[in-house]
């Protein structure tokens, strides 16, 4: 009888550990997701500065600048669903990329102190966003492993946890940037 009680206690402890572990992993995913959000916001906040700095120089890229200003306005309005947010973010990334390539045509702009400082800040934010996305994928992987592997999957299905999806870059961003085309546009 005591043996049964002993086994029962051990099983209970194990279940508690697994339960807590699952919660911790779920929260880690949410935590990193929040961090990505914060970094994206930082990037959005830089856009008006960027547009103001390059506007005077880049006479031929009016359409790009308008595009990015509009995209930013939509993003910070807060009236988008998660999927729409992700898609908008992809558009912003692409447009920013195009602008940065187009800057190559304007040596005066490239040498401008304000612009150089801005460029450094933007590089840093892009790098941090990339790091945050990698961290997000790592957190999702850890969570998915716990949800799918034995024996933690038993507890996970009892809690109703489903696997989450990784962050993937949009298909069109995966195509190599055609610098030639961008420089001529």
């Amino acid at each position: 009888m005591w043996i049964a009680v002993g086994i029962g206690i051990v099983v209970l402890l194990v279940v508690i550990l697994i339960y807590n572990g699952l919660i911790a992993r779920k929260n880690q995913v949410a935590n990193v997701f929040g961090a990505i959000d914060a970094l994206l916001k930082k990037r959005y906040d830089l856009i008006p500065q960027l547009v103001a700095t390059v506007k005077a120089y880049m006479q031929h890229e009016r359409s790009l600048l308008t595009e990015i200003t509009e995209a930013r306005a939509k993003a910070v309005s807060g009236r988008l669903s998660d999927d729409q947010q992700v898609e908008l973010d992809n558009v912003v990334s692409k447009t920013l990329g195009s602008i940065m390539v187009a800057v190559e045509n304007y040596p005066d702009l490239k040498a401008n102190q304000n612009f150089m400082h801005l460029q450094r800040t933007m590089n840093e934010i892009e790098e941090q966003i990339s790091a945050a996305r990698r961290a997000y994928n790592a957190a999702v992987e850890a969570f998915n492993n716990a949800v799918e592997m034995f024996p933690t999957n038993i507890v996970a299905s009892m809690m109703g946890y489903k696997t989450k999806s990784f962050f993937e870059i949009a298909a069109e961003q995966r195509e190599n940037v055609n610098a030639d085309k961008l420089l001529k546009s």
Partner: protein, 319 residues
Amino acid sequence: MKTLEDLKNFYETALMPDLMVLEQQRRSVVRKVAWVIIATASIAGVAFFVAMQSLREAGPVVIFPIIAGLLIGTGVCYLLTRGYVADFKALVIERIVRFIDENLSYEPKRCIDKSTFMLSKIFTTKPNRYKGDDFVSGKVGATQIQFSELNAVYESGSGKNHQRYTVFRGIFFVGDFNKHFTGQTIVLPDTAEKLFGRLGQKLQSLNIFRGNLVKLEDPEFESHFVVYGTNQIEARYILSTSLMARITEFKKKTGKKIHLSFIGSMVFVAVSYTRSLFEPRLFKTLLDFEPVRRYFEDLQLAVGIVDDLNLNTRIWSKE
């Protein structure tokens, strides 16, 4: 970046004449040392013989002068060679350092501070015997660097319980990193994962002394190293995919155990060596390119960390 060809030219044109003079000094030192050894050995031998004859009466008392004599002999040898080593370092090592990069300075007797060594948090054991030499510092491109040879040992107990544990022996490098960051990230050689696979990784994550395990995506990097960090995102910000590839390349290039840490916007690199570096060989001729090539390669390895880790790329907010 200087090549071996450049070194050969430097060796033949600039170094050789001075080496020939130093070689005379070396020969004279070797002669003197040989005499001292012969003299000490013979005196000790005679004294021992006398002691054996009068063992019953004098016995232990005669042993003390013999030991004193041996100690004096050793001391004299040390004094004789010390001057030679100093001249050698000034003439050969310093010149090679300047040859690699004129902006670098060399201090033969100085080494990285113990506080800096502990600040890196690479080694958790605090050594109680800490020494080093061959300190190089300066700016390579946009990066401020310092490195030296170190020998850090932890000794405990006495007599039968005496234990000697080498905390670190090799080249310890400190450099200005090219990104700003606030937390701590430590990259250590990965033994557990190699031996135990996934279970090893689980054990690593339970290591409470080291902080949180950071699992990275580069499989080759992960097979060589284990990473601990205070912040998951910052660890990945520092260890970009390109830096991970560079660190792996560096490790393969040196073939040595490498430890790194990133703290206070600086990078610390500890390269473990089993041999002594930048010391002259007393009993071999100086007029040989081989040892010069070795000194050059060891120094180049340390200075080259700046290029190997791409520390001069300053496209982020840190200049």
